[in-house]
Symmetry: C2
Subunit: 128 residues, 2 copies
DNA sequence: GAAGTCACTTACCAATAGTGAGTTGCTAAC
DNA sequence: GTTAGCAACTCACTATTGGTAAGTGACTTC
């Protein structure tokens, strides 16, 4: 810190924020990866046993076909979900969680817990 | 389950997905509340010691004034951040984490941990 | 008195999300 | 043998959200 004075100093600013910028950045990236709309619910459904497209659509109430397709592709690209085509007649397409996906869901559990304890807050801001 | 047969049954579908739809829903709401763009980083900065507008802007690298204003207001409404006007000359405005906000950040810690272990995945999909 | 800081607003454009309908390939029912 | 249905998509369109850049007013420092 230099000897330069500012309006804030004059007004009694307590300190310069000692926030670790890089850690903040990492934190942000992780939360935004996992917090992408629908992604967490889809991963959760996968770990809970969903496999086929329609099963996910049923489990993740409110999602559209289009967004489900998009998110499944993204999660596949990121390595959290594996897509398998079973060449029966008619073909079946199965989406299963990878170990990385399951690990991610496990890391989200405390937040799920938090959500159950603070259901009131959720209902106040996300009434869908 | 009825005795109705479907194409899926004919092709050997393993089971109906036993996913708990309500739990999935809760999970989704929580993750999307915390995963909103910039929100997690702002809360993190708050817990790490940021108080004034400029301190948050410095800590949360890349955010614009507009979005920071918006997010701070949202987090205040949701009860995660408290806004305090100190009537000095010039006035200071301080944003501090509430107990609920601190608790939320604590619940996000395992995900932050996960992010540090999987930095490669983050870099692949969020190069900003 | 010119330039700078703090905590915002405003205007505008781009990216993302949501809705609803259509498609292909198959089966099952009348 | 046409009609209806499901599974897993795709397309076109609109609404919502996010990003960029610039401006504002009260105040301070040079």
């Amino acid at each position: 810190m230099t000897s330069r004075t500012t309006a804030a100093d004059a007004a009694g600013s307590p300190y310069e924020a000692p926030v670790d910028e890089q850690e903040c950045q990492e934190f942000r990236q992780t939360m935004e990866l996992a917090g992408r709309r629908w992604s967490a619910a889809i991963l959760y459904a996968a770990v809970a046993g969903a496999r086929r497209f329609v099963e996910y659509r049923r489990a993740v109430r409110g999602i559209s076909d289009r967004l489900l397709t998009l998110r499944l592709r993204e999660l596949e690209q990121q390595g959290f979900i594996a897509r398998e085509v079973v060449p029966t007649m008619p073909v079946q397409i199965l989406y299963s969680p990878t170990p990385a996906g399951a690990e991610l869901v496990a890391a989200m559990q405390p937040l799920g817990e938090w959500g159950r304890r603070h259901r009131d807050v959720l209902e106040r801001r996300l009434p869908d």
